[in-house]
Amino acid sequence: MSQVMDPPAPVEVELRPAPPIDMRRAVKLGLAGGAAMVLVAATGIVATFQPRMVIDPILPLGIFFLYLLAFGFGWMASQPPATLEGYEAAKAGSRNLLAGALAGLLAGLCLGLLLIVMTVFDLRGVFINLSPELADILGFGLPVSAAVPVIALASAAMGALGAGVHLLSRRVRRALMGAFTAVIVFSLLTDLFGQLFSGLSLESVIDFLYTGRGGALTIIGAVAVFGAFILLFWWMEGRDSTLRQRVQAMPKGQRSRWQVGTALIILVVLYFVPKLMGPFVSQILVTAGIYLLMALGLNIVVGYAGLLDLGYVAFFAVGAYATAILTSPQSPAFDPQISVLASLPFVMVAAAVAGILVATPVIRMRGDYLAIVTLGFGEIARILLNSEWLAPIFGGAQGITNIPDLQIGPLTFSTPQDYFYPVFLFVLLAAYVTVAVQNSRWGRAWMAMREDESVAEAMGVNIVTAKLSAFVVGAILASFGGALFASQIGSVFPHTFDIVVSITVLVIIIVGGMGSVPGVTLGALVLIVLPNLLREFSEYQFLFYGVLLIVMMLKRPEGFIPSKRRAQELHTEELSQDAWLEIYGEKGQAEQVPEGAV
């Protein structure tokens, strides 16, 4: 492998000038951006987001989101081509700005066209969201003839602004983008920060930053946040070494003391989180925690063992239904009721059996066939739970209600704030399992199997046990999630265990980074907490998930916080491609590579 990754030795030649920014690409991206903006408007995202303010009263979220696309496409259009061997590195210049502005202009013209079309024709019979209100929002309240040039210019300006990012030095760019992101985060997560500050009895901060609790950032507030974070990021980028590097440079004893100390501080902070956040945010955190638990389980199945399980929700359902049947007085099949805690061992056994049942038939399958079969199992589970036939056991469409709260000794967990702790405990357990298993015999067997089943087998990995164990471990973690979910909600219904749950969990691990615990945690927090906090967002949650899946696979298949090994594997191919290009590429354009050569 390392031989493939080594690029050929550089040859001493005079460097040729870097190829200029490709304007044809800018035109293409501009049109693509225009299509994206038109779709965002026509799916109703703009109109739904509009009432929410990013900065009160000057910047509504709908328009902001729309022109953020122009910004992004302008940024992409002016991205310098990759530096190839034998060429100089591209210098950013006015041509970048031009490319960005061009892309933005084209995108804006597309949007203007939509505005003209929707005012001339009434398309609401088909596209229900092309309402006069949307026309008003898109045209900034101007008449169409004036609005179209305004839109085009605004979009071109945003495109140029996006392109301008390439002109800044790394430190300025990072500081600016960081501060910009901070403003957006502060403004969108107003519920969260409102809770936090009032929990800390800092009402004055709320009054300063926001128009009120749950309100938008004021102009002064936005400036304050921007200023504070630009200083912070400027300082952080200016340091010679990151905190991580400094911790790693410490002598061993000091390092472990430091790590234990940080862990303790985090635990103490986490202890106070539900108390500060109140029931609404705590409920969201509990949901995120349950998804995180499942994601850590699926991470073992997909991230470590490479078995794409699209029916993962079935194990979640096994956990939830096992708890419901054993604990609820309403359950039709099982009379004696036991406590939720006492049901956990049975849940584990049920999940393990389910894992083996799913895994045994698919032992000889690989890759995509496995994905489809597991999807089939997941759907079969849901249909059976919903069916009249098995209603004497699972309660059919009415589900099972009256599931008692979790009790541990004298402690009863009833509110979302209470549930935060057990959920957190199980997440900690799952994270521990994930980390501990990584370098164990099992973990190594799984990863070998993921890379190449035949080779792994030839090297003495027992594929049967490796597959079974991956499924069983994953199933048990998901079933704990199910048990907690059932006892927290107090009821289970078959329609909860839909395929979208499996896909959501998959999106979490892919966005976060397969095989990496911090990545998966970040993924769960962002993808579950965000749509729940932003009610406007939740209607388009799955659209965003879908787009996110595609974009991540195209641009960053290893996720945002990747595990080192995984990232390396995924880019091996790329490195060898680059090496190849360096030898044969004439103009450094991938299009010129003959087909099938890579």
Binding site: L308, L310, P361, N462, I510, L548, L549
Partner: protein, 362 residues
């Protein structure tokens, strides 16, 4: 155990020893066969359904199955050239069905709808075909082409993303409400050939599907484009060396698959007159099952697989499940399709006609 399992899973299975897994699988095979046979015996001997009712179920199965077959062609052809499951193909079908609905709705208020139903039906078909083709080609360009040569799971995950994106994009564009296809008066009622009675819509579906499949078969076997598709499916590298434009061929494959799905979408509206943004999911899975059933990568196999799955699904619940007196057995109709998928993949992953795959993988 370790030793046995290792030997067992090797490609050359002739010399394999008996392992717990294979014992389990054989037991499963026998048990399933016994359940199916005994259920059928119980149900036929009870005489619950008359011969005419069985025939109706059968014909219904064939007409649904021929639509599955049309969709399955897209799966099987894409799998043939790119070796990955285009999960979003069900949504390509759904978009075609949506377009068919809107065109039919617009035509239904014009005099053309009643005066010449054949022409209006043709317009609907062509509109659906073009829409689906365009969507399939766009997905290929945006989501799949940049991923040539990526690890196998990556395009699969991308296609799941594409599937979700299309579903919820359509939901955003036209709303989540279920839409009812307008009725076509001349197409109501039945058509009789001697003793054989068939609904007119079902007859149209079967004939149209047959014509499309025959056309596709001839196209793939007789034209230059078809030949290049077969060459790329066989070996893309060598095909490229022989001067075939692999990228263009792949686009052609997606376009043809999309066109077939579009036709299926328009026909779907005739038989099941209600659609929403989620309508592509189940037919997509079933069509994929058909493709696997017939042997993935094999065009004739997809046709056979589709029709067989349609018949299983239509006759199966009444034949097997009703025999055991399962209440509300029609709820379990989709379980039959999923179970067929799982069983085929477990016991004969090469499908009815699949040969090539057996050597490459399983």
């Amino acid at each position: 155990m370790t030793q046995a399992a290792t030997v067992e899973a090797r490609p050359t299975r002739r010399a394999s020893r008996i392992t717990p897994v294979s014992v389990f699988l054989w037991a499963l095979r026998i048990a399933i066969l016994a359940i199916i046979l005994y259920g059928s015996y119980l149900s036929i001997s009870s005489g619950r359904l008359s011969a005419a009712q069985w025939r109706d179920l059968f014909v219904f199965g064939i007409s649904t199955g021929s639509m599955y077959a049309l969709i399955a062609l897209g799966y099987t052809m894409v799998y043939g050239v790119l070796r990955f499951i285009n999960f979003a193909h069900g949504e390509v079908f759904m978009v075609g069905a949506m377009m068919a609905f809107y065109v039919a709705n617009a035509l239904a208020v014009t005099p053309l709808w009643t005066s010449s139903p054949a022409v209006s039906l043709l317009i609907v078909l062509v509109a659906a075909m073009f829409t689906s083709t365009a969507v399939a080609v766009i997905i290929e360009r945006i989501a799949y082409r940049p991923l040539r040569g990526a690890p196998r799971l990556i395009p699969l995950i991308t296609s799941i993303g594409a599937s979700f994106t299309l579903q919820y994009l359509i939901r955003g564009l036209v709303g989540p409400a279920t839409k009812a296809f307008p009725r076509m008066e001349p197409l109501r009622g039945t058509f009789e050939i001697g003793n054989f009675v068939i609904l007119k819509t079902q007859l149209i579906v079967i004939v149209a599907a047959l014509v499309m499949m025959l056309g596709l078969y001839l196209f793939v076997e007789k034209t230059r484009t078809g030949k290049s598709m077969r060459a790329v499916a066989e070996d893309p590298e060598t095909a490229a060396l022989m001067g075939i434009n692999v990228d263009r061929t792949i686009v052609n494959v997606f376009a043809i698959g999309g066109a077939m799905a579009g036709v299926a979408g328009a026909l779907w509206g005739l038989v099941f007159p209600s659609i929403n943004f989620f309508s592509g999911f189940l037919p997509g899975i079933k069509a994929f099952t058909s493709a696997v059933l017939g042997g993935i990568g094999n065009i004739v196999g997809a046709m056979l697989g589709g029709v067989s799955l349609g018949v299983f699904e239509s006759v199966g619940p009444s034949l097997v499940l009703a025999g055991y007196e399962i209440p509300a057995f029609s709820q379990l109709k989709d379980v039959v399709a999923y179970a067929a998928l799982v069983l085929v993949l477990i016991f004969r992953p090469t499908g009815i006609l699949g040969e090539r795959l057996a050597q490459e993988r399983t």
